[in-house]
Symmetry: D3
Subunit: 339 residues, 6 copies
């Protein structure tokens, strides 16, 4: 079975028109709702499902489109309404297609906002909608400010709830208002910042939450490729304190998805962090949905790419395609049962 | 003939989903387009036309939904693309329904931005699309900063182009990010600021541009009702300088639409500024599209309301419903001829 | 008996020279005092009284000149000293002319400052000086920042004390440092913001303080004139929640003074909110103290203007000129007794 | 003859009430004027003259009260109107009492504002009112920002005009909004900054304007007392570049007034900079107008204090009391002649 | 015996290279240490000691070079590490040369930071290293912000600890990022602000901490020279409240060092505050280490300068050179005993 | 021959103590100089040379330690002095060891500063010191602001001078004051931003300067590893405009050094961009100077690591170790000749 843990919901334009209205009115029109008919919803879902069928994905975990999450907008109420509307659309698609989708919720994160709102929305989505995970944006300022990094105690209540509910987070930033970086480049920057802060020796996150599971999008940003730099730093720290774990060991406290879109990088990722720490993800349809004019292949059709990596054993592939997902998303089967 | 000079386009959600995408991507996906099919476009137009037919409006001037114009967003390119997309949808509806609609363009205004972009878009819309007027937002900062007021020379290149092309502006602010005011309350504040600054003795706008026509939305904000305050101030200024014109005279350099939604206020407006300065406007469908549960009437069905004001002469009504519009929107007939 | 609830103290230049000194020294010279002799004080009072006699006002409630209150200046001590000096001058004039004046105190409001200082000054003025009301400035930032709106719990301790003491507030902003608005235009903006926030469905102010009395200056800003806009919004809210009260009902939870300076607007005000909610006010001498060169009348001589509105009954006039004031300013007679 | 070059005008409260009105209205009431009657003006002048007579001052140069000059307020127009009103009151007193007063003008300085306004007001005061000097505020931000220091070319147009007209400047800051310093302490800080920047080796002011005369208020701030610190620095600079002038030589490019209020400090000043560089000043009435309870003497009665310094020669005294003033204020006699 | 209470440590470049590394790495390399060999340390100490021997100083109190203390840098950890490294170098030199040096610690002050860190470092230095005093920087923002002044309760925990440990503070600012003032000029400004705020009538510092000893660097900034200004202000305050102490009395609650570099200023200081309040200080080697090319003397060779002031009695000199230091630095002898 | 194009100068602590002094004094002490003796200089150089010998590097291009460059400090003069001091130390070492070192200069970049200063320093270093290249910091704000990206015309004068002189730039950021990123992590972020902006279709840099050579440090940041993401974006852009070059082609307009510290990443880099675009670099001694405790090897001993990559041909190795450097650093041999 092929489980794609990094997908984003395909919704009809009504959902995004609803967002445009929230932004324009700043909430003055009240919460309202996207008003999506069952027919329009199903049209969007079917387009999505056809793509998954075309590439052999059996089950996809779908979350809100991250770059649409507008965490830095005000007032807080429109961020919350918007995130909830996204999660509700996802829940609806999951209910409509229980054999195809599982839900991963967005959280109503805001710059420096009370994390309680996120804890509550996570609980709502898991308990009421049987969601199996959440997105975690390390930068709700969207490139305009300075959030506490992921090792900060600011995030602990959310981590505690994740552990309690048995759901992992997929680290994924949203939009970016810093004109030097596109949102897409900011993804990589923020993932790298996330990994480095979670792995640094000062971080107490995994000591405090041994059962916490965190997946880094897009193969871990820059960190696997730049690993020598961080190993060297850790070796110097170990000279002063030999009890410290190696940087590679720290790196393997996290998980990584395979949203990398080319064989060389995937091969590299598996070598650097090990298939025990990699989960199949494609974001299909999404950033990788482009056809290589030379080969005619879609870049986000990653299953054959992974299968073409000769040195991967059957067990390696099983881990990447299914086993690791089942291990850290225990609610995958729970969710199946409740429908 | 009943001409409603204050209408906003009815577009399908695809248009606003396009806006949501521009905001989320900050332009990274390129300009793109809303991708609205002819069928979806016509659905939206027909809903709108049925409303106009129901209230007896023959011709409506349609502009972008002001609160959706996002003038304060960055980068400038997405503001421009978005405004142009709105204007293009309007042009399409006007071409599809030449007996029903005329176009009034939004302008790519930005906080402190070069006004040239606005001049160019105005020219494009008038020359290529036969638009008859434009919206003018006195506060492209959307409640977050301090724009030069409308008497400032900053605006002169736009005024010069308006005069050259023979098109008036409808003063209308857009969204509002100041949490103390909804966008709807900010409309009234900004209209009042516009009137007071254009009418103050220091303003040289109408001396410089004697043929400039400016229409103030929503019956002139607070100014007609608070007129005594401004008369008193002018009387004191006249004591020092008897050559100054009376405040009421200044007030009648501007035009006012009838978007007020109740008989008493409309009666009051006509008395205060005279029917020579009033133009029929309803914003239907829009802010006034609500049914009074006691009477069952829609609040923006203003034709019967105006007709019920006993003291208005036939000539008064003709002025309000048609003649004034024809006088200051000379391109109304030009536009008709070109199709 | 004619009671004018909106008057401001006439003080000799010594008072304002004292303010200039506080601002220049930022308090370094200590609190000091304006040093106004009884003679100079009485000169100013007599000029004022002659004006009231000339227009038939029997009793006027006098407060500090709002535009002079400098709530946004620092340090807080000079704001406090200045407000207290104003209140003390008012108390002195009231003691000197108990048949002519009652005191309405200014409050030492500062941007985001602790409201306790205001509660204490209110108590001092009412208990020691027999004042009958207070001014309430919704924007102590004077156009430079973002204060909590009047429905915010920030203001509750003051409301509680007002109810306890049985004194109403006259909503009235002070100066304005925003260059787009004069202080006079800012009055109207802030009154409108005050009404809309106190009347919105989210506000719990009158549920929490059923006996609270709030008077809006200058006939309610723009709201009575723009009422259709707010009715429409409420009708839409009522569709979702029919239990909500009508907007006109919300509007009648507040009171309005008659400081409008022209018959049409006064007529309009009485029609829109009812004479039960209107109190005679003139601000004489003040913003309306200008002579209409055509009629020779002073604009703030409002008694004959109101009397000339034919449809007002005897009871209507009694309410406006006296009864409403006696009802919501119960200390009017208490104060008389204590002299 | 005793010439006191550092006096400030005594004006009736009407002048400062005018300022309070400008600040409250931000100019909305127009320029207006203080409306001071000849009688009230003369009352104030007589009080002032009696003080001068009491201490043996023959002629005093009077300027606006510096701490009242409000250079940091906005809009620029009220700063200008206020400065001009002060200068006009001074001109009036000088015309009324030509044997007693000469005018020193304030300048309409603003934070970073165009220095042209100051050049023009200086010219107006000298040419129309026969003023003999000007005040120069090194910090029109009044403790809130970072102005170019006095060696910056920003100030050159003013220096050029001073030289052209033959008038010196008295360096004197105004109010201070920095809560750590009173305006009085800020005087000393700014004078010290002025001296150090004008004297530093990088300054080209006196090379560029060899005929420029600058007087530092209050005995030069801290610099004469702290002179060792600056000598040491210069000695080190001279090691690298022996052509540099000694710091004491730089110091003697400037002039200093005697507004110090105690014999020891005056004695010290004369020793450190030489009587050739000192001008009699008292600021009477002003900061020093306090009676020492032990001696009964007013602190600003400085003539006997200076006369009590035994080592001063007759020539020294003549220089301090009269000759230096006549030398650097050449218009002192011109002014006398024009009356 | 000659005790110089104002000296700064002479350290080899390794110490400052360590600082440069902390600033460049912002602490990423960990705390590390300057890595100064005993040989390099002793070289620096010997150069310093030879200077002291040359001028007849028996014992010098050495603290970190103030302008190097970088209190305004971030993160807080590098400020703390740097201050501690300085203190540790000082402790090392004091241990190496117990007959020559006593330690005065820098404190890890930061803009608005928790004062607890300073209390702890003070305790560490006194208890572990037998330090005898501390530096106190009134402006850890280094010219970029607004710290509470020294009379503010913010500083009370530090004052309490100083009293408990029996150590005084030397008030001394550090660097200055305000481009209008050099760090050296900022010293004088901040010392003046310190004196004026500690001496003002509102300050409760010495009422709360009667045993607190505070020494002002560089002869008290501008205050002794400008004393007339402050006396006058106090005389006026005393008129209102005769119980207030005289300003000179307030001034004598503090102590002053002799770091003035010229005889006239030293003579002046002794006259103004009395030798009971003066402590010998030279900052040798430091700002005064420059040779007067005319006399050939080093400016910081102050012992002969003071001895040349004829009116000083033997007791005066003893107080300045030794007795006052022993009185307010009681740990001078304690420290001696512990070695 | 092995040429290491990415080395940084080893200087004695005197150099960094000089920096600490500049920062503490903000330039008040004048330019001064580090005062490094020939002996201390040679000590540092010999330590460095021994390391190079140990790893088989024949020639190293040395530049200032980037994280020490303090581009964001003020005033501009201390940045300039500091950069020049670094370049002068480098020139000295190159003159002392012409067979071992070539100079690469730092530039006096400042946030938004005039690029002319950089152009001049580049010219000075190349013409006077025979330097062969320069460092280019894309973020002189050091994580605190928003510089124009490297495709902006802001940089064109520098590019023009680089082409004129025939020297390439090594893109390398300096320190980082953003607390979410260490300087080391900021290197990677800024290199990625540099690559993406130089490679984007809107950039005209290489069209304008076909002979410009830019080397990206540390193997290109994250871009080679994340290449699929950028290919996909370009494929979509090519759908609209087939004339656009492929992203991989854009990527090969730049050069990349080998400062990656592990075989897997180096192997990956060579595969992704081709050995034609890679230059040997080690930064030895520097960030990679740490010993792997398992293997005992230093991480920055990269020659054997590269040699161990089996699939590299002799030509590949020659290109990486020498040929590419000779091609884009044409002054390598010129410099050799001039000694």
């Amino acid at each position: 079975m092929v489980i794609d843990i990094h997908g984003h919901v395909s919704a009809p334009p009504e959902l995004y028109a609803y967002k445009a209205n929230l932004l324009a009115s700043r909430g003055y029109h009240g919460r309202g709702n996207p008003g999506i008919s069952a027919h329009r919803m199903e049209e969007a879902a079917q387009r999505h499902i056809r793509l998954l069928e075309g590439v052999g994905t059996d089950l996809q975990l779908i979350s809100p489109r991250p770059f649409q999450l507008m965490h830095s907008e005000t007032p807080e109420s429109i961020v919350r309404w918007w995130v909830e509307a996204n999660n509700d659309v996802i829940a609806r698609q999951c209910r409509d297609h229980p054999d195809r989708f599982r839900g991963v919720c967005g959280l109503p994160q805001t710059p420096g906002g009370d994390i309680t709102a996120c804890v509550e929305e996570l609980e709502r989505c898991v308990k009421e909608h049987q969601f199996v995970g959440c997105l975690l944006n390390p930068d709700p300022t969207e490139g305009t400010g300075l959030m506490p990094t992921l090792d900060d105690e600011y995030w602990y209540p959310l981590y505690a709830k994740m552990v309690e509910l048995g759901v992992p987070a997929l680290v994924h930033s949203t939009a970016c208002k810093n004109p030097r970086e596109t949102y897409s480049a900011h993804f990589i920057t923020e993932e790298s910042i996330a990994v480095l802060n979670l792995c640094k020796v000062e971080s107490q996150v995994f000591q405090t939450f041994p059962d916490l599971h965190i997946v880094i999008s897009h193969g871990g940003g820059s960190v696997p490729y730049q690993v020598g730099r961080w190993r060297a730093h850790r070796f110097r720290e170990q000279e002063a304190n030999p009890a410290l774990e190696a940087f590679d060991e720290s790196l393997r406290r996290l998980y990584y998805d395979t949203v990398l879109y080319n064989q060389e990088s995937l091969d590299f990722l598996f070598r650097m962090v090990g298939t025990e720490r990699c989960l199949f993800g494609t974001e299909n349809p999404g950033s990788g949905s482009a056809r290589d004019p030379r080969t005619g292949a879609m870049l986000d059709d990653l299953k054959p790419v992974i299968e073409s990596i000769g040195w991967l054993s059957q067990a390696d592939r099983a881990r990447v395609f299914e086993d690791n997902a089942r291990a850290i998303y225990p609610r995958l089967s729970v969710a199946a049962a409740t429908r």
